[in-house]
Amino acid sequence: MASVSVLPKIFRWVFTVLAGLAALVAVVLCILVVLNPHLPPGTHFGPATVDLMGQPGTVSLLPAQGDFDFTAQAFRGTITLFVGQAGDLIELLKHYGLPMVLVDAIFFATLFELLRRLFRNVGRGDSFSARTVRLVQMVGGLLIAFSFLSSFAEGLFAHAVFGYFANHAVITISGSELHLPAPRYVMFPRGGGFPLGSPFFFSGLLVLALSEVFRQGLALKSENELTI
């Protein structure tokens, strides 16, 4: 049997740590979803400098009349997005955003766990076994399934947020006010309704193709077994 390098061992430990962290994040998010915490009155945030479309901008959430005002400014203040009474926006971000991030965390925890098992097998010199082939196929399937799921979740999130902005946000460009039109349908990002644009989709296809290489390797190994 060919000697096994130290690389699978390193990868195994890296994926063990990453799977643990992702699982921890998923548990924290689950608790947040169940507890459904609210911002205490008087909470304020910012103005904080953030990157908006490659330009420095500011974002702030300030208390106002028992609620919050949300303001985002970009292009040196020439474009301003203002949402008065933004408490509902925070609730909306919580109800759509948290489950979306939770799905992401569960996905990454599962992916890292599968990769940990894969590198454990590779570390044992068990690269071409039925278990390894199944693990590679599962990683590919998971990536493809997640590309569809995340595309759908992000579409719903964008629809909800832009729907809210259409009714509550005021955009000012160089002093002129304008209102966003409400989205007429749920827009699926990454490929206009199909997750073909998602890097996860193509990664999944690539991994499934690689699983076929592993399957053929397993067939060759089985053929050579007990040949002396």
Partner: protein, 72 residues
């Protein structure tokens, strides 16, 4: 099926499994697999080494047995 008569040839030559393994430079475990007819295939290089060490022909080691005959 193809049967290996290694045990018979070894007995004729009065050579032990350990000694033969050392002479042809394969592990005792692999030689045991050959001796007990558990091998699925044999390399020409292994057959060559066996014939050289046991001073015999491949036909002395290999034997074709019809399936029904082999089951008996």
């Amino acid at each position: 099926m193809i049967k290996l008569n290694l045990d018979r040839v070894m007995l004729d030559r009065k050579i032990s499994l350990t000694e033969l393994a050392e002479r042809i430079d394969i592990t005792l475990a692999n030689l045991s697999i050959l001796k007990t007819n558990k091998a699925r295939a044999i390399r020409f290089s292994t057959l060559d080494a066996l014939c050289r060490a046991l001073q015999c022909q491949p036909g002395d080691i290999l034997q074709f047995v019809a399936a029904s005959e082999g089951e008996q």
